[in-house]
Structure formats: structure tokens, C-alpha cells
Amino acid sequence: MSSTQVASSVKPTALTFQELLFRLQAFWAERGCVLQQPYDVEVGAGTMAPETFLRVLGPKPYKVGYAQPSRRPADGRYGENPNRLFRHTQFQLILKPPPVNVQELYLQSLEAIGIDLSKHDLKFEEDNWEWPAGGAWGVGWQVMLDGLEITQFTYFQQCGGMDLDPICAELTYGMERIAAFLQDVDSIYDIVWARDPETGELVTYGDVRLAEELQFSVYNFEVANIDNLWEHFNRYEAEAKDLLEKADALLASETATAAEKRRFPLLAVYELALKCSNLFNVLDARGAISVTERVGVIGRIRALAVGVAKAIAQQQAVS
């Protein structure tokens, strides 16, 4: 069988999960990107981390990459499904403004992680992205490698309901998928996360994360206290709204000084909005949000996210 030959020929040379991340980070660091650490508040996607959501606002150029664990409570499968995770890892890259050879750079980054493009089929297929609650959208592609979506490539057009200028390119590499593909394993949990260079001992993705997938599936689907979640949601929202009102008044004030405006903690307000977003996702996984309620709650999160983005754009413009 040709397939087993390929499998055996690919596997030994394939990079471990952590080596993949090293290589990607090194590749982009060599091209001038800031390497950030993952954001330490729960997010549903790398886009929601402030290094993307807030940095894309305003005129200032920025290049950053970070590996962001992204939580999707409803996608949890108790660690039983070989292809699905509650929490997956996105290597997120923001290039603002995008260089003219951004696609070529992206292809080089694939070569850098061991993908010989002459032996693969690569297509850029239309796939536009939006995060309605963040008033954010862009046009772009899903990048398909031998039929597998390995990256979402987006030209951000709006964020926080505001037109972006300059726009930026956002590359989101699905790390588990890429690793499973390159290592040719049938289950994410069989991905080799690390290989001890001395003993050759392997640590798998399952060793590192399986318990987390199981327990968070139990929590998100079965035991999370719905009343408490709502209460948390309401409290975070109330604080965020209160601060946003103060921010709006301050930023509009003609007597307040620039220093006063700059020190207002809008970054903290954004965290409160992220907390609400994650609580919404847990409530949703818990089956506590009906189809119609959903629209209303998303509207509340949107009001916070868009509100804070607008305020931050104003704050950035304070001279």
C-alpha cells in the first residue's frame, strides 16, 4: 500500500508540536514580528486577544505573532473525538499593514515547517471571516493543503464597527491540524508534542491535554452552575458598562487633560467584555441559551466590544 509507505516516510522527519511552534515563531521573528505570549484571559479565537483586536485599530503599524489557546466550550467532546477539541491552539499573526508579498511569505512559512510544496496541492479558497459581536470582518481565504484547511487568511476590513486604515493581514494557523497532518496521525491525541533528544522518549498531545479536554467537557456540558454563570456575566457586564460610560464622558471632556485620558483603564474594560464572551460560550454549551435569547446576548457583548474598541480608538488619538 502506498499510503503506509508514505506514512512511514513522513513520520520520522516530522516536527513535534512544539518544534512546529518554534519554527513558525522563528520564521516570523526573523521577519520583524514581535513575539507575544498567549493572552491570559479566556478567548474563543486568537482574533479576540487584544494583540489583534485592539492593535488593528488606528494608524500605527504593528507586526505580531503569538500562539493563542482558544476555547470553544461547545466543541468539547470529552477527549473522545480524534478531531475535535474544546481548546485548540491558533498561531495568530498580524501584519499591519500587509506587505505586498504577504502570500509568498506565508508559503515560505509553510516550507519552514517542513512542507515541501512541490509534493503537495495548495489552494486559496474564498472564505470570509466575521465576528459579529466584535463588529469585525474581513475577506480572505481558507488555505487548503491536500484537502485540509490549515490556515485562515484574512484581510481585516473593519473592527469594532470601524473601518480600518491601514488594514492588516491576519494569518491563523490551526496548529493541531497542521501537526496531525505532518505527523500523519489519525488522532490529535497521538500528536507528538515533544521528543526527548537524549532518550527519544515521546510526550503526546494526549499526555499533555487529554484530562483537560475531558474535565472541561464535563464542566461545560454538565456541571457549570447556570445561575452563577449568569450572575458573573451580569456583574462583568455592569462594571464594563459603568466604566465605558465614564470613559465616554472623559474622552469627550474638554477640561480633562491628555494624561487623564490616557490613563483611563480601557484595556481592563476590554477584559471584562472578553469575560462576558467566554461566559456566554459556556452558557451556550450548557444549553442555557435559546435561539432567540442568543441574538439578544450577542447584542449585549457586541455593545461592550464595539463600545470599548471605539473608546480605545479615541484614546489612541489623544495627543
Binding site: 502506498s2 502570500q103 496541492d121 495548495l122 479558497e125 484537502g147 488594514i167 435561539v291
Partner: protein, 696 residues
Amino acid sequence: MPDFLLEIGLEEVPARMIAGAEAELGRRVHELLTRERLLGPEAKLTTFSTPRRLAVLVEGVLAAQADTEEQMMGPSWKVAFKDGVSTAAAEAFAKKAGAPVSALEKVTTPKGEYVGVTVKRQGISATQLLATELPKEVLAIYWAKNMYWRAGKPERFVRPVRWVVAMLDAAVVPLEIAGIAAGQASRGHRVLHGDAPVVLASAREYAETLRGAKVIVDVAERRHVIRKALDKATRTVPGARWREDEPLVETVVHLTEWPTVILGDFEPEYLTLPEEVLVTVMRDHQKYFAVEDAHSKLAPHFLAVLNTETDAEGEAIIRHGNQKVLRARFKDARFFWDVDQKSPLAARVESLKHVTFQKQLGSYHWKTEENLRVAGALAAVVKAVGSTIDFDEAALLKAVELAKTDLTTELVKEFTELQGIIGGLYARAQGLGERVALAIYEQYTPASMEDNVPVSVEGQLLGLADRIQTIVAMFGIGNAPTGSKDPFALRRAANGIVKILAESDLPLTLGGVLGASGTEGANKEQVAAFLRERLHFYLKDVRGFAYDVVNAVLAAGADDVRDAMARAEALTTARKSADFEAISAAFKRIKNILRQAEEKGFAAGAPQSVKLAPEAQQLADAAAALAPRVAVLREKRAYGEALAQIATLRPAVDAFFDKVMVLDPDETVRGAHLGLIDGVLRGFSGIADFSEIVTS
């Protein structure tokens, strides 16, 4: 004569938009060259496209516009020359025309003598015109969705423009599009050719030069290559053929620059999954072609169209990768199927209480109860008509009861586009009987105006009940569609109702369907108007009847959909005759007169109350004689014949309007006349309101 080439190099354009943009580019270039008198007598225009480029080659362009001579007219001769001496007016005109005063000549026109001058205009070169005019045309191309990419947002286009080639023969046309200066360097296939520029020696060599860089720029050629490659790859499986799928062929044509095809396999055990699921995964999710055996049954293979060409090792890797992706998706689907079987549809009815249909209204359990009530009422109407329609009421009600239960299945959560279909397949697998299974399977058809209506009567009735219940309930809580806002897709639901009634044999009318929903009062009136508006849309936009025919027909009744169609057909034929057109005009006149009379407070009386003028009496007699004949024909739905009969009224009507003053000063006579024409209007407007017909 030189050849002109324009190539716009882009990042990958969405496949669905390419064909339209390629055609538009060709049209715009053609119009520009025509407008600017640059198109040679035998010019030939060819367009090309790939995901990364749009191009147009015009063979036989003029190098420059032809020079022209034009006579410019100035002030009158008398003003320009006094005693043979030029005045300031003459000098100003000469200056304006760019000619010496000595070149001015006397031109005699019917209005008198004027100063004229012949101005020679030198034609502008193609290079110069294209450089200034073409960028505007390119940037005006329509895209369904476009984007900004440069700072300052100077332009929007579908994707960033990365290079531009513009050449007249071997020379570059110095134009600039979106900040990119045109040159003679194109780019080849990303992987097979790499980043090295592909320099064109001349415009004419475009296609061949690009072929050398592993890009087939001609769309028809790529389509041909793909079809041949699909055939060839399929031949490796004896007796097999690939399942024809034209939209998918078009998609992959526009996803590739250098297409090749591989055949992949999957484990035959997955063939136990329903074909609908397998094909959805292959076609919609993976853009693979399905392969079938000699009996049109799915075979355990698929065809993937690649955008590359590689060696045996590369092919093995690509095949392996695609197989792996497909296997994972099939595995998921089978897992979901197996999990779903643990809880049969019947056991899922209760759990619909936890699936919200609409917060203010209730759950899908509530929706199911409502649908049961409406379906029962519809069944009663059908039975009451005593029609020969064959349907099984018990099967219908069972299907309604279970119709929404597939929303709780894992497979539908994964493949939401297969809701209904999955329920039908499960019903069949769970031995609920073919009628029940088919009705559930078909409940969402027609999904669009191009789709067929359900074949089973149970499916038709389930579809009607479900849709009318949704519409009535949504209207009831103020969610009627407004303008472009229709978040609950109620227009589509109503279109489905109209289409099912139009294209089935059900003895049901819009009023009958609405009545079965049980709604009353203002809500009923609102929904009735909404359904009527959808019927109007169906007749006009789906069936293609002229708008005035539709207005005329619906004014005479908008309840029975198939009857309205029959009347519209008859009227479309009838209106072509001169007599009928005259009748339509006369009816419009009658309507106007009656309106005027009403405004003036003139009352209509009985035509028999006075001795009528002969022409009026003749019309009364003709109408009285015709009315019963038309009534019989109408009853028999012989609308064509009925309309032909009505057209025979023409001489009497013409004579009446010719000789009789309708609004006679004598109140009794006037009343009789009004009564007469009112009777004619009422008596013959039952098939259509002819006054709506637009006459020339």
C-alpha cells in the same frame, strides 16, 4: 495593426466571481476601444482568467485614432469683419479655434452668413488613450464583495492587485492600476514556476508564454483538461464513471491554473452511509467528484482536482492527505449516524421541548403540536372536497409529529444543510414506512424557486402546514418581513406555499391553507395580503407573465393559484388580438367614467328604466346574450374561449362610445347608462380585470 494585451495580476479571486468579471473586463475594453475609435476593422477580442489573473487580448487595434477634420462655427460674418477688416470677435474666435485669422472663411447657412474655420484634429495614440482611460474601466468592474488593501483606501477591488501587464505588441503601455505600474512581466504558477517573472516578448504570445510558466489562461481549455483528466482517472476503475456535476466543474476550473486529477479511495464500509451524506461531504465540503459504478451506485472512490502537477511520490502524498481528510469526515458522519440510532425519532419528540423555535412562541415541541393541528385541518379540507387525491392521513400525522426530531440528532448538528433529509433517512431506517419517511425527507422542498415540489402528497401537506404555521405565528408577534429585512425567511416560506399549490394536484387554495392555520382578524388579513404578494411574484418573476396580465388576473381573484395561472395563460394569448385590446381600452374607459360619476355623485340606475338609444340598447342586448355563455365557459375554466367571446363585444362597445354620451344631462338617462356600463364591467371582469391591461 498592433495587438493589445492587458493582464491584471491578483491574489486568488473567489471562484464564484471570476467568470462574470472576465466577461465584464472584455465588454469594458471593447466599449472603450469602440468609443475611442481604436478598434481595427477585423479586431478580435479574447478574454482569459485564472484565480490569479484577468486578461484580455485584442488583436488588430489601431495604433492611433484617425485624424479628423471638423468645421467650427463662430460669430456672424458681419460681427467678425467690418469693411473686410477683422474685429476683436474674429480674433477671439480664431484664438479659440487655434487658427490664424486668415484661415477664417465665410459659411452660408439657412440662418445667415457666419464665420467658420476647419480645424484638423490629430488622432490620439492608442498608448496614450489606454494609459489614461483603461485604469478607470478596470477599477469599475463589479464585485459581489470587495476590499481595501492600500493605506489611505484609494481603491477597492476583489483582492489586491499585485502586477499589471499592458502591452501594444512588444511595447509597454505606461498605465497604472491601483498603484502598480504596468510592465511586461507576468507571473507563473506559484509552485510549478515559482517567483521568477514571466517576461512577455509580445502581446500575442500571452497564452503560449504563460503555458510555459505552467498556467493555462484559457478557461475553456482548463475545463476541457479537467473533464479529460476526470475521465482518465476514472478509467482506472473498471465500469466506473464520475458523477456529472457541472457547477462543481465550474468551481474547480476557477480554482486552478494547472489542473490535474487524482483518484482516491475510501473504505467500502462507508458506503453503508446514505448517499446524501457521502455526496454532501465530498461535493460541498471537499469539492471532490463522486464516482459511481455501472448501476449508478456510489463506488468507494473520489476524484480531487489539484492545482499542481507532481511526481509519483508527490501524488502518493497528496492522495494520502486527501483520503485522510475524507476518511475523518466520513468517520465522524458514521459515528454520528450510529449514535443517533440509539435514540429513534419517536423517542426524540419529548426532547424537542428543549429546542427553541422562537423564544416568544415556544419550542419545536410547541411547533410540532401546532403543525399537527394545521396539518389535520388541511387534511380535513382535502377530504371535504371529496377529491381523488390519494393520501394516508395517519402517515401524514406521523410524519408531522416526527418532522423536527432530526434537529436533535448529531448528524444534523454537523450537516445542518441536510435537515429533513436526515430525518427521512432515519425514519426509513427505523421502519416507519415509506410514506412517513418520504414526507419528512421532502418537508423543506422546494428550497428555492428552481427546486421541485415534494412528490408525495403527505410531503406537500406537511410542507404547507409547517410553512403557514411559521408565517402566521411570526406575523402574530410582529415579525413580518420589512423591506430587505426578512430574518426568518418568511418570503421563502410563502414562496414555497405558492409553488406547492401551483405545481401539485392538491385541491387547496391560498385561502384554504390560511384558513387551516386557524388565524383570524387583522393577522389573517395581513398574511393574506402577504401570500397574495408572493403569488404576484410567482406569476411575474417565476412564471414570466407580464406585470399587467398578473395585475389583471389577480384583481379578479387571487385565491386559487392554479386557476390564476390558467387565467393568466389565457389572457396572455387573448391580449394579442386587436379586438381584445379594444375591449381592454373600453373597460379602462368604463372604469374612469364610473369613477368620475362617483366623484360627482351621479347615481347609477337600472338600464331598463328608460328607452335607451339604439347603440346603448344594442350593447345591453349583446351583453345580456353573452353573459350566460361566458359564465358557462368560466365555470368550465375554458378561459381562452371565454375571453374570445368577450372580445366579440367590441362592435357594440365601440358603437356605444361612438354615439352615446354616457354622462347625459338627463339624470335618469345618465343613471341608465351608468347602470349599463357598470353591469358590463362587473359581468365580464370575473376572469381578469381588463382595465389593468396596458394598451398601446
